[in-house]
């Protein structure tokens, strides 16, 4: 649907506009296609239900496109995960309120209740618990360990380790300081190591 209006450089105005829009749409499509599966798995680790996770990812995609599509593509990863993290945090809070009276006896260990991280510090030179789990169902063990993590620790681990964001980008995505990211990540690594070692 082109009009006959012509720009000063001689090109049809609507044709140029449509090309720019198509380029932006293609770039967005590539980005979302690349991130959507990991986003679904992250949401699924939070909700424990695929349908809920799909809803969260769809909401995050819509909000991301509405609010951040015009930002430079280099800024998209932390911005998308900021939106998704916000959706997951909201979902988590709603579930906490809903289940407060029902599951008052069941409490997941909070970040603040974690022990002394230095006392629990792992030996980073050690090959790691997953190396001994590869023959077993290492994926299932890792998933079980991730599900047990508090939300913020899990997000710090997934964004930093899996998604590959640096500390600053992870802090932006989680809307917290870089120091908090390091603390969450440190605790997540310790907790995962303990859980995976117990799994053996």
């Amino acid at each position: 649907m082109l009009e006959n209006r012509v720009r000063t450089d001689g090109q049809p105005w609507m044709l140029v506009e449509t090309d720019e829009l198509a380029d932006g749409r293609a770039a967005l499509d590539r980005f979302l296609r690349g991130v959507e599966r990991r986003a679904l798995r992250m949401a699924e680790l939070t909700t424990g239900q695929r349908d809920e996770a799909l809803d969260l990812v769809q909401d995050a995609m819509l909000a991301f496109v509405r609010n951040y599509a015009d930002k430079p593509a280099a800024e998209w990863p932390p911005l998308f995960h900021r939106v998704l993290d916000s959706r997951m945090t909201d979902w988590h809070r709603r579930q906490q309120v809903r289940g407060r009276w029902i599951s008052a006896w069941f409490t997941r260990r909070d970040d603040d209740e974690a022990g002394d991280p230095l006392a629990d510090a792992p030996d980073l030179r050690e090959p790691g618990p997953l190396a001994r789990l590869l023959d077993a169902d290492a994926g299932a063990a890792l998933q079980a360990a991730l599900v047990q993590l508090p939300l913020r620790q899990r997000q710090a681990f997934l964004l930093r380790v899996w998604e590959g964001l640096d500390v600053a980008q992870t802090a932006s995505a989680m809307r917290c300081g870089e120091g908090s990211v390091k603390t969450h990540l440190w605790r997540a690594l310790n907790a995962l190591r303990r859980a995976l070692e117990e799994h053996q």
Binding site: R25, E36, L54, Q58, M61, V65, P129
Partner: protein
């Protein structure tokens, strides 16, 4: 200390590479139905991008601005400013007084009042 060293200081331990591989494998294992749902979700989001920005407020804003302008014109119409009242003497008097003041010959009269006083006296004396 350069950036690379700083990054290495905060880099996750090596065993997390295995965790990353396991997580990647879990996404590859997603079933077709889930992939299809993800594709539909992405297409819906992209359709949002293709949709032009709805500037619903433009017609309403234009109508409001036009109404406001019309109301201002009714209250304070674009008319010439109120006339300044003329000096009472000039306004109430006739035009002759003005002519008497500004005429050149009257200025000469004012400069030779003694002559005309003598002339008047002569007229009375003769007449």
């Amino acid at each position: 200390m350069n950036t690379r060293d700083t990054t290495r200081d905060h880099a996750p331990p090596e065993w997390t590479a295995t965790a990353r591989q396991l997580l990647d494998d879990s996404t590859d294992a997603l079933d077709g139905a889930t992939r299809s749902q993800l594709n539909r979700a992405r297409q819906r989001a992209l359709a949002e991008h293709a949709r032009p920005t709805r500037r619903w407020w433009l017609p309403a804003g234009a109508a409001t601005a036009a109404s406001l302008l019309f109301a201002l014109m009714l209250i304070n119409p674009l008319s010439p400013p109120a006339t300044i009242p003329a000096t009472p003497e000039l306004a109430s008097g006739n035009g002759d007084d003005t002519e008497l003041i500004v005429a050149d010959d009257n200025l000469e009269l004012a400069q030779d009042l003694e002559f005309y006083a003598w002339l008047d006296a002569e007229d009375e004396h003769n007449g």
